[in-house]
């Protein structure tokens, strides 16, 4: 089947996840993404982990035997891989005049330029939006500086934890004071920064399709975080209320019990949401109608809301007797919203729904072989997205697509390509 945006080409100067994730999404939707890299300043994740087992290591891994994967080379880093499937990759030295010239040729045949350098890097290289617009008047230029292109923090650096902290999202996760914030145990704002960068690119593509006009976009990593602080701003503005954490409870859509409760096994937990009396009765039945539940403190929904601390302990005294997935199945069978706190292993190896939907897709790769990558989570009936993109491939090796991009797309002959490589330009 066709992809949604097979006619779109992206010149991709991003890195890490917040940057690289946005064009990853568009590659899944069918765009031809050309990721530009230079060996002296590689994405640090290319040197990071976890190293993907290859050769004998892989054999051992597949047999379930102990192995140590070597962390050598730049084409076998697991996190880098997960951030860049479906993309093409070329080497290009933008600090050389000839490199800049070639870059402009690529921009000329592209629809989007996307980058996540600090605010004024591209201008300093002489490759800012105003310059590139002269090369390609309808180009969409999406920039993703941490705090934005303008304003007094324009030169500040950001990664997920930085954007999460300042936006308020870190403070909004965890148990009430005196606990510290728990924050996010991963770079939520890397993924979300990536989502908003992708959303911006797609919005600008639609606008261009309808008007013929490209545009410049300033997509900071921090602002989407502020955008997702929910009703906290309005609650302050309208009610003067300062944000307070409430743990795993649900004060705004009242529910009790509501939280994560310990189950059998090491560090196994189940989340349960009880929104009304029907839910309550159904849960109690599954738990064997324990005697404590007859206490007047828990008789009515309103009373349960007031006595949640005690209720949580009592519920946990029951859940801890149960195997988590068995309990989830029985609660769900009784119509109760309940779900195990799943690990990565649960999601990859045993979750039947994710298996049914194709959570991960195995993609070929020229050095590390076939490995699974997380697929786009929305199924599209006419133009399905696919994490391998139109090229049906995992992440690019460094400079892997030089022959295609320089030869086929830009018409640079083999001899000249060889010369450019010798001159450290490509």
């Amino acid at each position: 089947m066709p992809f949604a945006i097979e006619n779109v080409r992206i010149t991709d100067l991003t890195w890490l996840l917040a940057g690289a994730g946005g064009p990853r999404m568009l590659a899944s939707l069918g765009a031809e993404d050309i990721r530009i890299e230079w060996k002296d300043r590689l994405d640090m994740l290319r040197h990071g982990g976890p190293p993907i087992p290859i050769g004998e290591e892989r054999e051992k891994f597949l047999r379930g035997e102990p192995f140590v994967a070597k962390n050598d080379g730049v084409n076998r880093a697991g996190n880098f891989g997960e951030n860049n499937p479906g993309k093409r990759g070329i080497s290009l030295n933008l600090r050389t005049e000839k490199g800049k010239e070639i870059f402009k040729e690529l921009v000329r045949i592209s629809d989007i330029v996307v980058e996540c350098f600090t605010a004024n890097t591209m201008e300093r290289l002489g490759l800012g939006y105003e310059t590139l617009k002269k090369v390609n008047p309808s180009i969409i230029y999406v920039q993703q500086p941490g705090f934005g292109k303008t304003g007094q923090y324009a030169d500040f650096v950001s990664t997920g934890p930085v954007a999460q902290a300042i936006s308020g999202l870190t403070e909004q996760s965890g148990m009430p004071t005196p606990y510290s914030p728990a924050g996010w145990g991963y770079s939520y704002m890397d993924w979300s920064g990536a989502y908003y960068c992708a959303m911006a690119m797609l919005s600008a593509l639609y606008y261009r399709a309808r008007t013929g006009e490209g545009q410049y976009m300033d997509c900071s990593q921090a602002e989407p975080g502020i955008f997702m602080t929910g009703t906290a701003i309005l609650d302050y503005s309208a009610n003067g209320r300062v944000w307070q954490r409430y743990g795993n409870r649900s004060p705004y859509l009242p529910a009790a019990p509501h939280g994560a409760y310990r189950c059998q096994g090491k560090d196994r937990w189940i989340a349960i949401s009880i929104f009304n009396d029907d839910d309550w009765r159904a849960m109690l039945k599954v738990l064997g109608n324990p005697a404590w539940a007859k206490d007047a403190k828990f008789a009515k929904f309103a009373a349960r809301l007031l006595n949640q601390e005690e209720l949580d302990k009592l519920v946990e005294s029951e859940t801890v007797k149960h195997e988590p997935f068995d309990l989830m199945n029985r609660l769900q069978g009784a119509g109760v919203a309940a779900g195990v706190c799943q690990t990565a292993a649960d999601r990859i190896y045993s979750d039947p729904q994710l298996k049914h939907r194709g959570f991960q897709k195995a993609l070929p790769h020229s050095e590390v072989g076939d490995w699974p990558y997380k697929d786009f989570p929305v199924h599209m009936s006419e133009s399905p997205a696919y994490v391998g993109g139109t090229i049906n491939r995992g992440f690019p090796c460094y400079g892997e697509d030089n022959p295609y991009v320089y030869g086929t797309l830009l018409g640079i002959g083999d001899g000249e390509q060889k010369q450019l490589a010798e001159q450290e330009i490509i």
Partner: protein
């Protein structure tokens, strides 16, 4: 900012959605589409989600409803009654996108399968958001925000340090404020725009099957690669990434009990930190030659020592001292752990118009709202008007657009069809 035209200036969206999908409508409205929200005559269930204006629960005072329905039009319609169903099918040809968050198969049962809708309007894009997806063994299970954050793996990444011996005495944590739905709607926005761009080429709409469970499951970071490539689990840790080992923490408490996230230079040396500490006479022994080598700095014992010196330094100041800004001048990833409202008074965001003010003429009051997630050269983000009152635009949509007479509208109202 040459034009006030939104990105999606010529699009119309029909929304039949609860908390699972209202954020998608908010995004599309923000991007410039004309969004018409359909509610049952008694009001959408999201009008009962708090907090409430002045803490008085009322369908027109839900701040949740205000926030997630900013910039939309609103009509009432009982789509389960034949006359309501008929009105809906009369609206369908006028719209580009239908957002629907009913249970899997609900549209089919109402005779509004994608096939049927497509026969009325072949260009229609249906964005259907369900807890687990339209098909599959879990399709009929019940979700909630916390249940999705649990099943999707977010919670097992978030929480507090284990005790020595790697036992946890605190549960995994679900970050607050409806993120299961934020994640899903952000992804469904991408799919919807993909479908629109496909329609530009083919003239055809399509059906989008968004699973909250799958969307949340894709939104974690290193836990998946570590399992895929090394079968290593990660451990959740206070205020920092879940990792395969327990690492030194960057979340540092201030004298007055607030927090700063103080990470170093990305992948680099700690020398800038030593310099900054030394400037304040707080470097302890860190200016010693032996700490200059980045490899030495990464030794676990040394790294804990560096971390302790840094934390002592941060704890000797109050939060309002804004030490993070100076850390940033050393190129370090320092950031204040703010409460959301503290951004309202930051001149940086003011200069970027990150927040916006919305006038509520019914209350004669103006409130601060979250504004645009980005700045664009041409297309502006829509930041109003306030969320619609129940049935506020019935006259406009049914009267002006469908040509239904006032008399007929009164009758429909009496029959609780609108």
């Amino acid at each position: 900012m040459s034009s006030a035209k939104g990105f999606l200036f010529d699009l119309r969206v029909l929304e039949i959605a609860d908390e699972r999908g209202e954020f998608l409508g908010k995004l599309l409205a923000g991007a410039g589409a004309d969004v018409v929200k359909i509610e049952p005559p008694g009001g959408n269930r999201t009008r009962a989600i708090g907090p409430f204006y002045q803490d008085k629960p009322h369908p027109e005072r839900s701040l949740f409803f205000w926030h997630y329905n900013l910039g939309k039009h609103g009509v009432t319609l009982d789509i389960k009654k034949p006359a309501g169903h008929d009105l809906l099918t009369r609206l369908i040809p006028n719209f580009d996108i239908l957002i629907h968050t009913g249970a899997p198969g609900e549209l089919d049962k109402m005779g509004l399968s994608y096939k049927a809708l497509s026969a009325i309007n072949p260009r229609l894009i249906v964005a259907a958001i369900t807890p687990f997806g339209q098909t599959g063994p879990w399709r009929d299970l019940r979700g909630s925000d916390i249940v999705h954050l649990a099943l999707g793996g977010v919670m097992m990444n978030c929480g507090y340090d284990p005790m020595p011996g790697m036992e946890y005495d605190t549960p995994p944590i679900a970050p607050q404020m409806w993120h299961a739905y934020h994640i899903t709607c952000n992804n469904t926005y991408m799919a919807t725009l993909g479908a629109l761009l496909y329609r530009e080429q083919t003239g055809r709409g399509q059906f989008l099957d968004a699973s909250i469970h799958q969307a949340v499951s894709t939104c974690t970071e290193v836990d998946i690669p570590h399992m895929v490539y090394a079968r290593q689990p990660v451990w959740r840790q206070t205020g920092r990434h879940a990792m395969t080992t327990i690492v030194a923490g960057s979340q540092s408490v201030t004298k007055d009990g607030r927090y700063v996230n103080a990470s170093g230079v990305l992948g680099g040396t700690q020398l800038p930190l030593f310099e900054m500490l030394n400037k304040y006479g707080a470097a302890d022994d860190l200016m010693d030659e032996k700490y200059k080598d980045p490899a030495v700095q990464k030794d676990p014992v040394v790294s804990r020592h560096i971390n302790a010196v840094m934390k002592r330094f941060i704890q000797s100041y109050k939060f309002e001292r804004d030490l993070w800004k100076e850390g940033q001048t050393y190129n370090m990833h320092w950031s204040p752990i703010r409460k959301p409202h503290e951004n309202l008074t930051d001149p940086h965001w003011a200069a970027r118009k990150t927040f916006t003010k919305v006038y509520h003429e019914d209350l004669d009051k103006t409130f601060a709202y979250n504004g645009a997630p980005w700045l664009a050269g041409k297309s502006q983000w829509r930041t109003g008007p306030r969320a619609p009152h129940l049935g506020e635009h019935n006259g406009e949509v049914y009267g002006k657009e469908l040509g239904i007479s006032t008399k007929e509208l009164t009758k429909l109202k009496k029959q609780e069809i609108i």
